[in-house]
């Protein structure tokens, strides 16, 4: 079945966008967490996407000048945003520094909301490709139905 790689590719896109959505949800949930296991405030996490290139492609293998597309996308790494924490003057806060400033996470709620919309759209696009592949597979299966 020529559609199985197609479904795997779309599934990789769905998985990547879902993981990205998980990270965004975690960032939003911890937007005000002044404590983390490593000490200091929570740090914003980001997903790094990488294309999974395929070594060979059946149709392209015997053709000069042809290249091969890959097997979808993967999350190569989850990295922390290196921007410094947000400082808020609040001497009464239990986690306030000696100078009275509290270090809040470097999470910008508006940025996260924009990222969330992008992740949602990306998920939908991959879902549409998945649906198209199943429609095509169904059309092919109908050929052998007596």
């Amino acid at each position: 079945m020529a559609f199985l790689p197609s479904l795997d590719i779309s599934a990789s896109g769905l998985t990547a966008q879902r993981l990205r959505m998980d990270l965004i949800a975690n960032n939003l949930a911890n937007a005000y967490s002044t404590r983390s296991a490593r000490g200091g405030p929570y740090r914003r996490q980001m997903a790094v996407f990488a294309a999974m290139e395929a070594p060979s492609w059946p149709w392209a293998a015997n053709r000069a000048g042809a290249t091969a597309p890959g097997r979808g996308v993967q999350v190569a790494a989850v990295v922390e945003d290196p921007t410094p924490p947000r400082l808020v003057y609040d001497p009464e806060h239990p986690d306030a520094r000696a100078d009275g400033y509290v270090e809040y996470p470097n999470v910008d709620v508006v940025t996260e909301m924009v990222d969330m919309l992008a992740a949602e759209r990306g998920y939908q696009a991959n879902l549409a490709a998945f649906g198209a592949a199943t429609d095509m597979a169904r059309a092919a299966l109908n050929l052998i139905r007596v």
Binding site: S6, R63, T67, P69, A125, A133
Partner: protein
Amino acid sequence: MEGIGLLWGPTDRDLATALNAAALRQQVIAHNLANAETPHYRRFDVVYEEALSRQQQAAARQKVALRRTHPAHLARPTSQPVQPMVVRDNSSVMRNDQNNVDVDREMAALAKNTLYYQTLTRVVGARMLALRTAISEGRR
């Protein structure tokens, strides 16, 4: 396979290649959509219809060709069937991360390709029905 004539002839060979091209294009579009937000990713494309048309034009220019009573008639190519090819599209970068996937364009290509595939399967189905009718001596 070629000897059977009406069915499983050159037309069916071309239909099979076109179906394969559409299935391959589906994979390429899925891959482009999956990597719509991957930095530095460049989209892939499938070249098939253009190559097929070029081959048919070349066949039409040959001295020994099918006699065509109308210039719009397609010539039957005598050479090897055109195979779909996956090529990388390095054109127009409009984004900071060097990614050139346009989701709208890919979605349009996805819709077109699905319709194209379904049309092809209808044609193949009609040919199989004709064969079945012949086998059952017209009783169906």
